[in-house]
Point group: C2
Chain length 490, copies 2
């Protein structure tokens, strides 16, 4: 049948766009830069949320909810924060519409102007720290470990479904601690939680590291990141965790009484991942036939398609299928039985391939006679015939195998596309091809900026795992003690 997607080799970016639309994950809305997340895309996000929320709670965090709107003046309170976020905000200036007597329709009521404008949150540090001031008096109130699931708005000029949208969904953790070390430990714990989630649920290997000063979150002393490689060799920043020092505590005057009776400023962290992860998931694994979803995050892990001509055949097949479904569900495996009669099996095969359902079962009258079922796996597109008796055990281990295989494939791809380079000439040609480049850097923003303007490559991070190694900065030739990770990025 005709391919519905542009191939990756032809136009990677168009392939991604096609896939998001055709697989029913999301689409552009009538509001510039805002997307509609369609049910299938939202179901993936819900799966992600459920796992992450469990991990946050297991590490002692509680959920809460803070206002969407932030008074404009709050943004001025932390100097570097306002620089980072003030340029890209949706601003509420009025609180009423009225009938437009001249042009018809409705117009903004000029009498309903706010005294102080409200900013639609691009991130919530300021409103949360203004609240924490009332929650924290003594060391007994610490640590305060809060997470929020919310929508945020950043006025992006160039948007892309899931990867960069004006409004997106995310979680933002905000914690307060009595000591610097505790806050640093929390920052590191959360980047480890994100890496664990990326690798063990998304089947997406990531490099953990810290950002350079240039790339740090506005208001942070240190930003930890996880960086993943997409199939075009570009890096995608997939989650960040910030050590905020005492910046926000000082900006919002949040002090606590220590056990010894002194008064000190509180130490802070914040950390977040967003619906961008859905984009990462798509780009990390999918192929020219459609999505490839890791079983642990697939909205349903198995789809069953009956092959029949006559109604009585369908009845016999359905009876058998219902037994299989019951056994799969008992194992906690999610399954969809598509017995719609207004679509042909071939159409359904293509549909679920496009949607990346990890395992497809097909069963017809011949299978019933033989006690068999056809099992197809999405990741390798391999098919084989299995005895229907005990097929639930086969599927259970197949799902594990698929989860591992997807990870391994992505891991090997990254390995093959990660290069150490030692001259600027090599650097430039290697970066252009895509992939990760490990190179020496002299530690200055100046060299970093020049490399970026020459090649568009940025320092994705200083990996946490590295070997000490004497070398010379690829740009300046100055001495360096370690390699850092460069790449083109989303």
């Amino acid at each position: 049948m005709a391919k519905v997607l542009t191939s990756r080799s032809e136009n990677y970016s168009q392939w991604y766009q096609d896939l998001v639309i055709k697989a029913g994950l999301a689409e552009n809305s009538a509001v510039r830069g805002s997307m509609v997340i369609k049910p299938y895309g939202y179901a993936i996000w819900e799966k992600m949320q459920a796992e992450l929320d469990r991990m946050f709670k297991e590490t002692g965090h509680e959920n809460a909810y803070f206002p969407l709107f932030i008074p404009k003046s709050f943004f001025s309170k932390e100097a570097s924060h306002v620089k980072g976020f003030a340029k890209e905000c949706a601003v509420v200036t009025h609180y009423r519409l009225k009938t437009d007597e001249v042009n018809g329709g409705v117009m903004v009521d000029p009498d309903a102007k706010l005294e102080e404008e409200l900013i639609v949150r691009p991130t919530s540090e300021t409103i949360i720290w203004s609240t924490f001031k009332n929650w924290i008096q003594s060391y007994r109130d610490l640590p305060l470990l809060i997470n929020q699931w919310a929508n945020v708005v950043r006025w992006e000029m160039r948007t892309r479904l899931f990867l960069r949208t004006a409004e997106f969904l995310w979680q933002e953790g905000h914690t307060a601690h009595a000591t610097k070390q505790e806050a640093i430990d929390e920052t590191e714990q959360m980047i480890n939680v994100y890496a664990d989630f990326a690798e063990n649920f998304m089947a997406m290997p990531v490099i953990k590291g810290v950002k350079t000063e240039n790339e740090r979150f506005a208001g942070a002393l240190e930003t930890y990141t996880i960086e993943a490689m997409m199939q075009d060799g570009k890096a995608l920043q997939s989650g960040t965790s910030h050590f905020l020092g005492q910046n926000f505590a000082k900006a919002f005057d949040v002090k606590f009484a220590t056990k010894e009776g002194n008064e000190e400023y509180v130490w802070a962290t914040s950390w977040g991942v967003s619906t961008r992860l859905v984009g990462a998931l798509i780009m990390a694994h999918s192929d020219d036939n459609g999505l490839v979803l890791p079983p642990k995050l697939a909205p349903y892990q198995v789809v069953i398609i009956p092959i029949y001509r006559k109604e009585d055949q369908l009845a016999a097949i359905s009876e058998k299928v219902n037994e299989v479904i019951a056994k799969l569900k008992a194992k906690g495996i999610s399954v969809k039985y598509d017995n719609r009669d207004n679509r042909k099996p071939g159409w359904k095969f293509a549909e679920y391939e496009l949607k990346g359902v990890p395992v497809r079962l097909a069963i017809g009258p011949r299978d019933l006679e033989n006690g068999t079922v056809e099992v197809a796996r999405r990741d390798t597109l391999e098919k084989n015939t299995q005895p229907i008796e005990g097929v639930e055990d086969y599927i259970e281990s197949l799902l594990e195998e698929i989860q591992t295989n997807i990870y391994t494939k992505a891991f090997n791809f990254r390995k093959e596309n990660t290069t150490k380079v030692d001259t600027y000439q090599d650097f430039k040609t290697t970066v252009k091809k895509g992939g990760f480049v490990l190179a020496h850097w002299d530690g200055t923003s100046e060299s970093e900026d020049r490399i970026k303007s020459d090649t568009k490559a940025t320092i994705r991070c200083l990996p946490l795992e590295y070997e000490e190694e004497e070398g010379l900065c690829v740009y300046s030739g100055k001495p360096s003690k370690r390699r850092v990770l460069f790449a083109l990025s989303y």
Copy 2:
């Protein structure tokens, strides 16, 4: 110990406010009319969400996410809808801030004015129906059963934590159907789901009914409601389900090809409940000592408090407690063990009473010797001593008993405070005392309006369950065939 709450009899409204704050459920924020939902309040909302989400999915609905912002012009497309919502909207007019060179801080950048203003959604019918237009072509695409969990903003002038806030969290279901009857069936199904949730999870009896024309949702042909009685006798509208006819399909030109090849407009419903339910839950059951939570929605159902003087006593108690916890968890009962050493048992008793934990266990060295544990239930404040062996079975049935008892208490309270009246004089005195009043009404908006301006009472609904009964309208004396439900309301 000193009472921390104003009593209900002294000042019901102040009691509510005290309770929400002192139990750590929510507080006012720096943004006028917007609340902060604190972890304990949010945990109740999460419990509600989980049950409702399950019920929506069991009835075939899928979640999706639509933009926060709605172009201003969309509001003019459905005439009655704009009248209902245009007066209370937050309006985004600009998309950038810049440094204020004169006054310091930041200011709205006048160069970054939007061509068309964006409204922060007060409800999403318009943006969703503009999207549905692309999703619906044929009868095969119907029914379309979508739900969204989201924040919405209505610029309320007088706000009250949970009950009426400028921003609140809710779910909004939006469905599209091929026939009028299917849409009506859906509308009724969802009000039944809400009633089921209110009665079986919130332990809050509700009256199902339809709204009068005056009280209908802006854009609906029929609004179904569930109305609950609070302890001050006022009604609280707790959930609504709207039959929208073809109004939005016509406004956004959403047609479908029927099986027979004709083109017809689609039929619509929408339905929602919000964080207002947390307010309802509080007001329906709590007492002068604090919250009383139904076990099915309590963030934790059991709290265990060790009574000890020395560290080795705590160690022995904790060993026993851990066994109990394991047995409770195996039964799916959530439990918190508060072994903090910086708070006294008496403080903890008061704290969990205030927080409405359904069952409290206390265990000391004497209990260890005797193999017993003290069990206190929050709803009746009764205490008794139970053998620790098998206490998990006792607690399991106690939780069921508490759930039932809370419901029964609220049910009886409503019964005692529901009165049939037949004269306007009786009507006025009865309504003033609080409670539900069943009276005849002539079916006109005029009488309804006059009654409202005389007494502040509104027709909460025309109950779905009623007896046909000839009578005379309490206001006009005109003939009527049934009684309707009047009350003062939130």
